[in-house]
């Protein structure tokens, strides 16, 4: 995919895009369609899902039955290549007492090749959190500013789902969503149980298409209800930029992609104006400088921030007059709960594959109680739910051997249910990233050092989630399989949910924020940030749909500025 009709050596690029994941892919798609010449730099290697995704191989074909290892943290066949929690020769460090995990892939398409695909819309409260509870900051834009872009992104990437009809969970207008799959029996049982307790269960919004999306260049086929999405999808049913935006953008003739291009810094043409970027060829170590009229950083929240901190003249980095660069870092909270449900034992078999992941989920439902001050935490959480036929977890099997063990496996297959909590974290002053003064990566680029701390809000939230999950399990007469742990031990490590956000936040003015609502840095007029770095806060909801919507909005604004001669 690296050979290109448009040669940036012969024609200066209009825009350099750093990164090829959700934000970079959207920028490339939108800007090339608008007629702008784009040069995309991807730190990872070239990647072709058609040739490299082993969609149908059973796990028994993989070493260790495909189990998670430090080399392949999400299993052998997982799409992520050349990275994971660690990237060879590219370390990151931590302040003492910090446990932070940074997931990076080094491949074309970035983290869209493996992701959760749960794409809830953010609601009005999520953009104005300060106005609601006095914590954090408000965004300079509200739900109504983003809604039209949500509509378009849902149609562009292909999302299936249903109506939610709950406070702060906006529904999509008709024609945005494809029909969702039917729920499975464990999901139906959770729904019946939860609803008897006043907890809503709704159809999830998932970026897996259930209807064909024809296209001359990158046709995508409806999901055929088999194979794990995290391996990547050769038929394009799951959204990843490598089977959609990138080939579509290339077909315009306006996109050149250079892979193995590790961008080290933004270069300047003068005060307040970027010239381009410098990158290191990961294969040869050679340094290159490329120029363009505008630069987009879409390298992933922390990598984008690292680039800016490593650019400019002073130790504060580039575009950091506000001092906010690196601050306000958040991740989603995470905790998992599991139970063995005797009522589901030995249930009749049927094909329970469906589309990858959950068909229904539990949105946050306690906004009214929270507003009345009845909860001991601010902001929300949701549960992603699971339960399928398969090998039962060890905890659900009795300590027996022989005929009794075989019988126990058959009985317990499909009889366990999981509830996985994802919640909002409020930015705090003890959680940030900065440049480590003493450590460089193998390219000589200074690396990030993380500081991370959950506040009592997050710990109380997770404790509340456990009480809820266990109450649900008890209502269905299930045996809880979770070990007894305090919330500090129950909660995931920072970064582990891979929802890093906010380290170059947007705002209404240059004093308190790094970028405006279009991702344009206040200090450098032709430098635009498009990934999760620009979020003014998190939400309990997964961020990718909002990253895509904001990247589309920012790209169209950038194209309009080109049209109006701002970069002539």
């Amino acid at each position: 995919m690296t050979a290109a009709p448009f040669d940036p050596a012969a024609t200066a690029a209009d825009v350099i895009i750093v990164g090829s994941g959700a934000a970079g892919g959207m920028a490339a798609y939108s800007l090339t369609k608008a007629g702008l010449h784009c040069l995309m730099l991807e730190a990872g290697r070239d990647y072709d899902p058609q040739a490299e995704v082993n969609m149908f191989a059973p796990e028994s074909d993989a070493p260790l039955r495909g189990a998670s290892t430090p080399d392949k943290p999400f299993g052998y066949f997982d799409a992520t290549v050349g990275g994971g929690w660690e990237v060879d020769g590219e370390p990151y460090t931590m302040r003492e007492g910090t446990n932070f995990r940074w997931y990076r892939s080094r491949m074309l398409g970035g983290r869209t090749n493996h992701w959760g695909r749960h794409v809830p819309r953010w609601g009005p409260y999520d953009f104005k959190p300060f106005s609601r509870d006095g914590l954090g900051v408000d965004w300079p834009i509200g739900y109504d500013d983003v809604a039209p872009f949500y509509d378009r992104v849902e149609r562009m990437i292909g999302v299936n789902g249903g109506r939610i009809e709950l406070e702060n969970h906006p529904d999509s207008p008709p024609s945005c969503l494809m029909p969702p799959p039917k729920p499975r029996v464990p999901e139906m049982l959770l729904k019946a149980t939860c609803e008897s307790m006043g907890i809503p269960v709704r159809t999830a919004h998932t970026a897996v298409i259930t209807r064909d999306m024809p296209d001359k260049v990158a046709p995508r086929s409806a999901c055929f209800n088999a194979t794990p999405c995290t391996r990547g999808c050769t038929i394009g049913a799951m959204f990843q930029t490598t089977t959609s935006f990138l080939p579509m953008a290339k077909a315009t003739g306006n996109l050149t992609i250079v892979t193995d291009a590790m961008v080290s810094r933004v270069t300047m043409a003068g005060a307040g104006r970027a010239a381009g970027v410098e990158y290191v060829d990961r294969k040869t170590g050679a340094r290159h400088q490329v120029n363009a009229r505008a630069v987009i950083l879409a390298a992933g929240t922390c990598e984008t921030t690292r680039l800016l901190l490593n650019s400019g003249d002073g130790p504060a980095g580039l575009a950091n007059a506000s001092g906010q660069l690196g601050r306000n870092l958040t991740d989603s909270t995470g905790a998992s709960f599991r139970a063995y449900v005797p009522a589901l034992a030995d249930r009749p078999r049927y094909n329970e594959d469906g589309i990858g992941g959950q068909h229904v989920y539990i949105p946050f439902w306690l906004y009214e109680e929270q507003k009345r001050g009845e909860l001991d935490f601010a902001r929300g959480y949701h549960f992603e739910i699971g339960g399928r036929f398969g090998i039962p977890p060890a905890a659900a099997l009795p300590r027996v051997w022989g005929a009794g063990l075989k019988k126990a496996v058959r009985t317990a297959s499909g009889a366990t249910i999981g509830m996985t909590l994802r919640g909002e974290m409020i930015p705090n002053k003890d959680t940030y990233c900065e440049i480590d003064p003493g450590v460089r990566d193998r390219f000589g680029i200074p690396v990030l050092r993380f500081a991370f701390r959950w506040s009592q809000h997050e710990l109380n939230q997770v404790a509340h989630g456990r009480r809820t999950a266990h109450a649900v399990f008890k209502r269905m007469n299930a045996t809880i399989l979770d070990p007894e742990l305090p919330p500090e031990k129950l909660i995931t490590a920072g970064g582990e949910i891979i929802h890093e956000l906010g380290s170059a936040r947007m705002g209404a003015d240059a004093r308190s924020s790094v970028v405006d609502s279009y991702g344009q840095t206040w200090d450098v007029t032709n430098l635009v940030l498009m990934d999760g770095a620009i979020f003014a806060s998190g939400a309990h909801k997964n961020p990718t749909l909002t990253i895509l919507a904001l990247a589309l909005r920012a790209s169209e604004r950038l194209a309009a500025r080109f049209k109006s001669g701002a970069f002539a």
Partner: protein, 230 residues
């Protein structure tokens, strides 16, 4: 429980043959005591694993390959296969796990150079050594050579719900081995068929959802739990 004269003699002979053997009066120990009074010590140390490489962060996913040498000796592998056929024995639905070759997977697992697998290596290798010594101490012969009833006695002692302290490590060994056999066996086509698993095949069109039979069963679940259809 007072040991019979015969058991006492057996213990004295075994203890003489194996200086590591210890005896704790069952009545003084917390938990479920084993049906024998001789328990040999857990091996103090294992040989270090041979050098081995993982498959790396970017293996060829179209041609999966195990990149490390297997560490079990022929005799250990034979014992593991034998244990596989005891832990998950042949029945009318599927063959025994040992006969099916799941022992090879156990060997692959405990030979792998990753932290989880290295920990399991300690458990499984240590357990195999312990099992041999325990078998000799109790019955004067290798595990492979004792009678089915004697093997069953040992496995019963290794699968009690709450073992006494001196049996904690041997029981943890059997936990690990049992879970490896369950994973290895039920991820094979024969194991999936045994569980009645249906799936892993393209089903074009809308996902059909539960079968009528599954829905009927589900309605009964709701009724039993006193839940309304939602």
């Amino acid at each position: 429980m007072t040991p019979s004269r015969r058991e006492t003699l057996q213990w004295m002979m075994a203890a003489a043959a194996l200086p590591l053997a210890r005896w704790t009066p069952p009545a003084m120990a917390a938990g479920h005591p084993p049906p024998f009074t001789v328990v040999v010590d857990w091996p103090a140390a294992l040989p270090p694993p041979p050098p081995a490489q993982g498959y790396g962060r970017d293996p060829d996913l179209m041609a999966p390959k195990v990149t490390w040498p297997l560490i079990l000796s022929k005799a250990q592998r034979a014992t593991v296969d034998l244990l596989g056929d005891l832990i998950l024995p042949a029945d009318e639905r599927s063959p025994g796990a040992g006969t099916l070759g799941v022992g090879a997977f156990v060997d692959e697992w405990i030979s792998a150079p990753y932290p989880t697998q290295r920990k399991d290596r300690e458990q499984v290798l240590g357990g195999l050594i312990w099992l041999e010594a325990q078998s000799r101490a109790l019955h004067g012969a290798a595990f492979a050579a004792i009678t089915p009833a004697q093997r069953a006695g040992l496995l019963d002692a290794l699968t009690v719900t709450a073992p006494v302290a001196m049996m904690a490590k041997p029981v943890a060994f059997m936990d690990t081995l049992r879970h490896l056999f369950v994973l290895g066996f039920y991820s094979l086509p024969e194991g999936k068929a045994d569980m009645g698993f249906i799936g892993d095949q393209p089903t074009p069109g809308d996902y059909p959802g539960p079968s009528p039979e599954a829905l009927t069963h589900f309605a009964a679940i709701l009724a039993a739990l006193g839940l309304a259809v939602s």
